[in-house]
């Protein structure tokens, strides 16, 4: 019996992007549904009654929520193709640690970047770059965070890089000088079809961001 996979998503969501990349890495066919987050559909509310958020992966009728949990689920079910987590428990723990760090720090700091101004924004920029530098240190000279192969941490970080383009314009800074290795890494990842087809066009994302600012009443 063929697997039935549905992804409830919202195209600008960094969390949704992670799942798209993971599904593409595994070469999986699925039905993509873009949700209207101002008018959440009955399927979303039924499949994620607790958080009512995207992404939700529905596999043969059973929902899985929370992007990191979904990516691990995908990796465990379709374990024979392009493994995302390494096999060694210590390296798996390190991958989970960094994925957790990315979600906890970058997400919050990124949001603060565009919602603040002046001195506060400068301080947030500094902290954001510090976090990226820490990640760059973790990457070291490896082609990917996963080592020779694109892996779990790479999947988790790339979506933030699609939004980084927006943040750099919004907060007027560039990480090119500060984190050259990360820029190279991001370019390398974008050469993978699973990544480039999962991330939105920069201009489209920026236009969405301008809309988002309006909704939040920010100039």
């Amino acid at each position: 019996m063929a697997d039935e996979i549905i992804l409830l998503d919202f195209w600008p969501s960094m969390f949704g992007m992670k799942v798209r990349i993971a599904l593409a890495e595994k070469g999986l066919k699925y039905e993509y549904r873009d949700e209207d987050l101002f008018n959440k559909g009955p399927l979303l509310l039924e499949m994620n009654p607790i958080h009512k958020k995207i992404p939700v992966l529905i596999h043969n009728g059973k929902p899985i929520c929370e992007s990191q949990i979904i990516v691990q689920y995908i990796d465990e079910v379709w374990k024979d193709k392009s493994p995302l987590l390494p096999s060694d428990p210590y390296h798996r723990a390190q991958a989970r640690f960094w994925a957790d760090y990315i979600d906890k720090k970058l997400h919050l700091l990124g949001a603060r970047l565009w919602r603040t101004k002046g001195e506060e924004q400068e301080a947030n920029k500094k902290e954001y770059i510090e976090c990226l530098k820490l990640l760059e240190g973790e990457l070291g000279d490896k082609p990917y965070f996963g080592g020779e192969n694109f892996g779990f941490v790479d999947v988790n970080l790339m979506p933030y890089f699609s939004w980084l383009y927006v943040f750099e314009i919004a907060a007027n800074f560039s990480i090119e000088a500060e984190c050259p290795k990360l820029i190279t890494w991001a370019k390398r990842c974008m050469e993978k079809e699973s990544v480039s087809t999962s991330l939105p066009d920069h201009q489209k994302l920026y236009d969405f961001f301008l809309q988002l600012k309006k909704w939040h009443g920010i100039e």
């Binding site: 929520c65 929370e66 949990i69 691990q72 689920y73 465990e76 428990p89 210590y90 798996r92 760090y101």
Partner: protein, 225 residues
């Protein structure tokens, strides 16, 4: 080569307790290093330079930080008495509830209800009750969140079994009413009475004193704003 396993913890950290429970359930020997978080040891800073927090598990010199990450590491390294289920869907559910516990339950109860007062506390209480209802529903037909025996989710939520009564005493309000949450109350009792768990709670009087002081400080800081 003998295994070298060290756990950096504090006497009161509920996150570190998860690791104590997991290692004892698996029957794994380890050395405990108690930290004073106001005076962190060079070892702690070396092993957890990113967050500088406990717990940290150091296995043959290699450190792992973040309690839920450590639990999965322990489960994958010592495979007897598994904490997570075999089936990928059930594992995803277990991870979901553990995350829900930390992100929502703990946050609303500790930061919302316990560390606040007045209207803010009332609003946080409503939110906390919603979260607790989800846990109540999840326990239907089960003795533990893990089924017949203690599992990953029980260890992740286990802090409730001890801390709720401490919070209730210090803050002077009821959070888990046995009439409203009969299954949750029963689980809390059953978990707290389980062999390994009941021998490892931190001293109650010390916890009451500590959390009283923490609450007083937070309320004073909020009042002076």
């Amino acid at each position: 080569m003998a295994e070298e396993l060290k756990l950096f913890r504090t006497w009161s950290s509920v996150f570190a307790l998860r690791i104590v429970w997991a290692l004892k359930i698996k029957g794994v020997e380890y050395e405990t290093i108690f930290e004073d978080l106001s005076n962190k040891s060079p070892s702690l800073l070396q092993y957890n330079p990113v967050h500088k927090k406990v717990p940290v598990l150091v296995h043959n010199g290699k450190p792992i930080a973040e309690s839920l990450v450590i639990l999965e590491y322990i489960d994958e390294t010592w495979r007897e008495t598994p904490l997570l289920p075999e089936d990928p869907y059930e594992r995803a559910m277990a991870r979901f509830w553990a995350k829900f516990g930390d992100d929502k339950v703990l946050t609303s109860i500790v930061w919302g209800v316990f560390f606040k007062e007045g209207k803010e506390q009332e609003e946080a209480m409503l939110e906390a009750m919603e979260h607790l209802q989800f846990l109540e529903d999840e326990l239907k037909g089960k003795r533990f969140f893990g089924g017949e025996r203690i599992g990953f989710v029980d260890l992740a939520l286990g802090w409730l079994a001890n801390m709720i009564s401490i919070f209730e005493e210090v803050a002077g309000l009821k959070m888990v009413d046995e009439d409203k949450f009969p299954l949750l109350a029963a689980w809390m009792q059953e978990f707290a009475d389980s062999p390994i768990i009941k021998d490892n709670w931190p001293p109650r009087d010390k916890m009451i004193a500590k959390f009283q002081a923490l609450r007083d400080a937070k309320l004073a800081a909020a009042a002076s704003k």
